[in-house]
Symmetry: C2
Subunit: 449 residues, 2 copies
C-alpha cells in the first residue's frame, strides 16, 4: 500500500482568495464586455465523448488529453477546448435559432502537456463566437470584443496589438507565386513557424515542400516582411492579380470596420499569422504584447466548416479564445492587477453578553441592506475584537456597549480616519457618512440609500 498522496496535481492551481479575486476580476470584465456586444453566456460539460475531439483534431490529440474510460465503458475526455462542445450544442439546436448566434463562455480547459517551467495543465479561456454570419463584419465584431476587454483591463495600443491576416488572401498570394492548392497546407505550416525558424531554412522548405522557385520563395518572404502593417502595399504590388484583388476586399473592409470601431491603433496587418490549427478558413488573428515577450494573449479566426464536421447545420462561424494565464502575466507586468485586499463594511464589537443579541439584530438589518458585516464568533476582549476588525479590513467598527445600548445608540469608528461618533442604532448604514460604503455606494464612502 502506498503512502496517501494529498499534494495538488502538477500543473493545476489552487485559487486562495487573493488569487480568486484576480480571477473574478478577469471573469467579470470578460462578462461585462461580452454583454456590451450582446453576447450571451453558455457552458457545456467539462467531460465529453473522446470522439468529439478526435473527429476535429485527429488521433494525435489523444496524447495530450485527460482521457479515460468511464464506469459505463465510454471513452471520455476532460475538455481540452470549447469549440467542439459549442459545435455539438449548436448541432442539436441551431436550426430553430435566429442568426447570427452571439455566444460566449468561460470554460476551464485541460491538456496533459509535458511539464516545463510552470506550464500549466489547466486554464480558463474566454471563448467568443459569432455563428451564422459569413460577412467579415462578424470577424471584426469578435476581434473588437477581444480588444475592448483588453482595453477594459487598462491595456492600451502601446501595450498590445492584434496581428491579423486572412488565409484566403495568403492562398491567393501563394497561387500568384505558383504553388498548387494542394501545397497550401504545407506553406501555411511553414509560414506559421517563420518567426521561429532561420530564414534559409524557411526558403529551403518553401522550395522543397511547396514547389516554389528560389526567387519566388525569396519574393514571398520579402512580401510577408514588407507588408506588416500595410495592407495597401499588397494591393499596390499584386492588385492586378484578380485572385489577390478579390481576396483583398474582405480584409480591407475588415480593417476599415475595426478603424470605424476606434480600434485601428490596436490592429496590425501581418500575413505571417496563420494559426496552427487546421480548421480556420478565412481571417485569423492573434493578440500579442507589443514587446513580443509573451505567448499570444488571444487567438482566433473564421472556421466555416467545423459545425458541419460534427454533424450540425453547415454554418459559417468565427471566434477566439483568450486564456487567463498569459493575460494574467501581462496584467502583472503592466501593474494592472486589481487590489485584492479583503475588506468588509462593518465589524460589530460587543461589550458584555446583553449586547450580543442587539448586535446580531443590527447585523441582520445591515446585511439585508447589502452591507458586509462580521463580528467575533466567541467572547473576546474589545482589544481582540478591534484586532479582528483590522484583519477583516473593516471600513467601520460599530461598538455596542451596555450604556450606549440603553440609549439606543452605538459608537461608530471610521477605521480610515480613526474618527468616532455616536450614531442612533437605526441610522447605521442608512446613507450616513459613517465610514463604511455599501456595495452600491460611491467610492467616496457615502452609504447606500
Amino acid at each position: 500500500m502506498s503512502t496517501p498522496d494529498f499534494a495538488r496535481l502538477p500543473g493545476f492551481r489552487d485559487f486562495v482568495p487573493e488569487d480568486l479575486a484576480v480571477r473574478s476580476h478577469v471573469f467579470d470584465t470578460w462578462r461585462r464586455v461580452s454583454g456590451t456586444y450582446g453576447f450571451r453566456e453558455y457552458d457545456g460539460p467539462p467531460l465529453e465523448p473522446l470522439d468529439l475531439y478526435v473527429e476535429k483534431s485527429g488521433e494525435e490529440i489523444v496524447s495530450q488529453l485527460y482521457n479515460f474510460t468511464d464506469k459505463g465503458d465510454r471513452a471520455v475526455s476532460m475538455r481540452p477546448e470549447m469549440t467542439p462542445s459549442l459545435a455539438r450544442i449548436l448541432g442539436e439546436r441551431s436550426r430553430g435559432m435566429s442568426k447570427p448566434i452571439r455566444w460566449f463562455s468561460i470554460p476551464q480547459l485541460f491538456r496533459y502537456e509535458r511539464q516545463q517551467r510552470g506550464r500549466l495543465r489547466e486554464h480558463f479561456q474566454w471563448n467568443v463566437d459569432v455563428v451564422g454570419e459569413a460577412d467579415e463584419a462578424a470577424d471584426a465584431e469578435v476581434l473588437a470584443v477581444a480588444l475592448d476587454a483588453l482595453r477594459a483591463f487598462g491595456l492600451t495600443a502601446a501595450d498590445i496589438h492584434a496581428r491579423v491576416s486572412d488565409r484566403r488572401l495568403l492562398a491567393a498570394l501563394l497561387a500568384h507565386f505558383g504553388t498548387d492548392e494542394a501545397q497550401h497546407a504545407a506553406a501555411f505550416g511553414i509560414i506559421d513557424k517563420i518567426e521561429r525558424a532561420p530564414r534559409e531554412k524557411t526558403l529551403e522548405r518553401l522550395s522543397a515542400e511547396c514547389g516554389l522557385e528560389a526567387a519566388s520563395a525569396a519574393r514571398l518572404t520579402a512580401l510577408l516582411d514588407d507588408t506588416v502593417g500595410d495592407v495597401a502595399a499588397v494591393r499596390r504590388a499584386f492588385g492586378d492579380d484578380e485572385g489577390v484583388a478579390a481576396a483583398l476586399e474582405p480584409v480591407e473592409r475588415y480593417l476599415a470596420t475595426l478603424d470605424a470601431l476606434g480600434l485601428g491603433p490596436f490592429v496590425t496587418f501581418d500575413l505571417t499569422i496563420v494559426r496552427g490549427l487546421a480548421y480556420y478558413t478565412g481571417i485569423v488573428f492573434e493578440v500579442f504584447d507589443r514587446a513580443g515577450e509573451l505567448r499570444a494573449v488571444c487567438g482566433g479566426g473564421r472556421y466555416d466548416r467545423l459545425l458541419e464536421l460534427v454533424g450540425g447545420e453547415p454554418l459559417p462561424a468565427v471566434g477566439f479564445g483568450m486564456g487567463d494565464v498569459v493575460l494574467g502575466e501581462l496584467l502583472a507586468e503592466k501593474g494592472l492587477l486589481p487590489d485584492t485586499t479583503h475588506t468588509t463594511d462593518y465589524f460589530i464589537v460587543t461589550i458584555g453578553d446583553e449586547t450580543r443579541a442587539p448586535a446580531l439584530g443590527l447585523a441582520r438589518r445591515l446585511r439585508d441592506a447589502g452591507h458586509s458585516v462580521t463580528y467575533a464568533l466567541r467572547d473576546s476582549s474589545v482589544r481582540k475584537q478591534f484586532k479582528a476588525a483590522e484583519n477583516e479590513g473593516a471600513a467601520a467598527v460599530v461598538v455596542l456597549g451596555p450604556d450606549e445600548l440603553a440609549k439606543g445608540v452605538a459608537v461608530v469608528r471610521d477605521m480610515r480616519s480613526g474618527g468616532e461618533r455616536e450614531v442612533g442604532l437605526d441610522s447605521i448604514g442608512v446613507g450616513v457618512n459613517d465610514g463604511a460604503a455599501g456595495p452600491d455606494a460611491p467610492a467616496d464612502g457615502g452609504g447606500s440609500a
Copy 2:
C-alpha cells in the same frame, strides 16, 4: 472502428443561454450573500489525487468516482466534493492565517451515480466553511448565510426550514438510555434512516444493534418524535442528566443566536437529523422544503477532525454544501426563477453604406459607457434590421439615415412604447430618456450618468 459519438454524456448538462442565465442568478446570489457575511471565495482543481477522497471516505467511494490513471501514472479523480480540497489547501497554509477563516466556493462536482430518472452526474455546489472556531456561534453563522441566500431567492419560512440537531446531544441521550459509546455510530445510522424505515424495524434494530432494551428504544423514538421543534422539551425531560444538560447548552445558544439573527422562523430542532457521512462531530443541519417533497436543498455541520486527517493543522470547522439542482427545482416550483429573456440596450439600424462608419463610432461610445449595443453584421433592409432588433430584445432602436446623419441626429425608437424622436448623435445614451437603460440605470428606463 466505431461510429463517432458526439452526444452529450448521460448525467451531464449543457447550459444554453437561457439555462446559464438561471445558473448565473444562482451563483450571483450565493456570492452576494456570502459577501454580506465576510466570506471570501476560493477554488481548487476539479482533478485531485484519488487518495484525497479515499482517505476521508474509504475505498467504497471509488465506485462512485470519475477516477482514472493519468498519463503520468497518477491515480486521480474528478472531485466528488469540495471539503477534501479545502482541507488540503488549508493544510498547506492555515498556520500563518488569522482565525476564523471564512471561505466559500462554487465548485462543479462529479459522481458516477447509477442513472435513475434524471439523476445527474455533475452539479454545482455552494460550499461555505468557518475554520478555526469551535464556538457554536460559527455553526449559527454558516446556517444563517445558507438561510439568507434562500431568503434572497425569495423563499420564506413558509417554503423552507432548516432541521437542526447536534450529534453530541444525541450521543448524550443515547448514553442516558444505556447505549455504549461504541454503539453510537450504529445508532446514528439507524436514526439517520428513521423517516424512511417502518417504526418496528427501527425499534428492532435499536435493540439488536445498539443494545437498547425494547422499552428504552420505544422511549427514545418517542423522544425523537415529540421534541421536534421543541428543544425545551428535552431539557424538561432530561435536564437532570448531567451529560444531557451539558450537551444541551451549545444547542440552546445556537438556536438563540439564530433567533437573534431573525432566522428563528426558519429553524426546527429535530434530533432525527444525523447526516449520513461519518465525519461530523457536533451540530448538523439539513434544509428542506416544508412540503417535504424534494431532497435536502442544503446540508452541513461541524467536522472538527477532518483537517487533521489529511495532514493539516488540527482545526475545528463547520460548513455546508448547497447544490444547484434541488434548489433549481424548488425555485421553479415556487415560481421564483428569474426572467431570462435576452435584452440589449440599443440596436443601431443603418440606411446606406455611408452611415455604417458613424454607426460603429456611436456603438463604440455607447459600449464604452457600459451599454449593450448590436447591429446587423451584413447589409440588409430596414425591415430585416428591425426584425433583428426584436430578436435581440433591444430596448431602443437608433435609426441612422443619410439625412439625419447630415444634421448630426438620429431617430430613436423606444421599442416598448413605439414612440420615436430625433436625438442629437452625441446625446444618445447620455442620461436621456430614450427608452434604453444602461447597466447601472434605474429600472424606469433612465439612462446612466
